[in-house]
């Protein structure tokens, strides 16, 4: 083996260890292999405030239909804030305001007065960091949304429970104890129960705010597998602190820093050749 001490005569090194890149010559890219998706959500010139403090600055972003988009960035960068703007969850916090710009879902501005936030949240479901099953049976947890909507047809409810639990990859594990408490499930099962509850009301979009941060690797793998399945029917936007999770699960990735969108591109590009040095530094674990 080579003696490392003999390396002192080697050529000078770039101690940042990232190779300097000349952009003088740009090789024309080959045609991309990805299928083009329709835009479902369009965010334009969006400024958002918590009281007097601006949390999001001039965000412009188009999110694809039936795709998984990951929001990444260090704590406080605004990724969760933006996620919560997509179903107006921030309305529940005092002093929040949209000062400029719009969020459109299928060309409808969701921040106008004619949009009912309750109706909006039926279309845009949310899964949180900490699983939050209600202190009810597994069955009742799943159909909670439908009950509120007034659905009483037992056959219909049974069908939705099975379909949603299958959709959340939980059916086989709980089918014999549907009337036991949801709180008796493991952490990973509880999170999948929350996903079942979310998809039971047939939303179009599912927002996930660090859905695996409290789960062990096996439960995480199951949720990631589920995300892959769910994107056939739903548009998914996931906030994650795990770079590898963003790389594994998402089709596109948006990197935020200090309330600004720094880079948005195919996930493959973000993790292979990000165009912004801040993105590169973040995904390589150099800051954040």
């Amino acid at each position: 083996m080579v003696n490392v001490s003999s390396l002192s005569n080697a050529a000078p090194m770039d101690t940042s260890s990232a190779t300097p890149v000349s952009r003088a010559f740009k090789v024309p890219a080959r045609a991309t292999d990805g299928e083009k998706a329709d835009t479902l959500i369009e965010i334009e010139n969006f400024d958002f405030y918590y009281g007097a403090k601006q949390a999001l600055f001039d965000i412009n972003l188009k999110l694809d239909d039936k795709r998984v988009t990951a929001f990444i960035g260090p704590s406080g960068c605004g990724k969760s804030t933006l996620l919560r703007c997509l179903n107006r969850m921030n309305d529940l916090i005092d002093g929040t305001s949209v000062k400029r710009g719009s969020v459109k879902i299928r060309n409808i501005d969701i921040n106008t007065r004619d949009v009912d936030p309750i109706e909006l949240r039926k279309r845009v479901g949310m899964v949180f960091q900490k699983s939050n099953p209600f202190p009810k049976s597994i069955y009742e947890n799943v159909i909670y949304g439908l009950r509120i909507q007034g659905e009483t047809n037992k056959a219909k409810l049974d069908e939705v429970v099975e379909k949603s639990l299958r959709g959340a990859a939980l059916w086989d594990e709980v089918k014999d104890r549907l009337h036991e408490s949801g709180l008796g499930l493991s952490g990973g099962q509880q999170q999948r129960l929350c996903i079942a509850r979310t998809i039971a009301v047939s939303p179009e979009i599912i927002l996930m705010d660090e859905p695996c941060s409290a789960l062990d690797p096996i439960a995480t793998a199951k949720v990631e597998e589920l995300i892959h399945e769910l994107k056939k029917e739903f548009t998914i936007i996931i906030v994650t602190h795990s770079m590898q999770q963003a790389a594994r699960c998402s089709d596109k990735t948006a990197f935020f820093y200090m309330g600004k969108l720094i880079e948005y591109a195919d996930t493959r590009m973000i993790f292979m050749n990000p165009s912004n040095p801040q993105t590169e530094a973040y995904v390589s674990g150099r800051f954040g």
Partner: protein, 222 residues
Amino acid sequence: MKRFFDSELEIFRSHLMLMGETAIRQVRDALKALVDGDVALADRVIAADDELDNLEMSIDDEAIRYMNLRAPVATELRLVIVGMKASHDLERVGDECTTIAKRAVRLAAEPPLKPYVDIPRMANIAIEMLRDALDCFLHGDTDKALAVVRRDAEVDLINKQLYRELSSFMIENPATTTRALELMFISKSLERIADHACNIAEEMVFLAQATDIRHREELKKG
């Protein structure tokens, strides 16, 4: 922000540069051994091939370890992949130098067939190509990398000319066959060294821009 394992990448990059410098030295020494009929130098070239073999194994080991434990992405991921591929090319350069050195030993025992003009010219171009390809590694200069790729045709042309010339030697005087064949194989080795320099240059474009330019003839014509 500096990370506690950044030094591993620095060592990796140093090993690759050291391997490049060693390969260039081997080409230069193999050529000198041939031109000067210096058997001792040829023997040193043959013995020094182990250095390149060991460096290739070190680089592979470091790259696998880094990918396994550090989960590199973006530039770092490209660096370890390109490092492994380039080190393989450099190891093959070393093998070609060993071949040239062995033939130089045999040719040293015979009177020269012709003055050495084209072979040193080829060797010098190949050395420049290797040096420029390694320069791209240090500075990410993709213009230079593309120039290396385009220069390969120059070496191919000299190789073909030499082939024709040496063939005519053999036809005119069969007694020259052994020496002419040795020179033909040396010429072929130099042509292969230039090919490896091209590979390295292509790999450096991938490192700098994440774009694969292999087998893209339109880029090679300029």
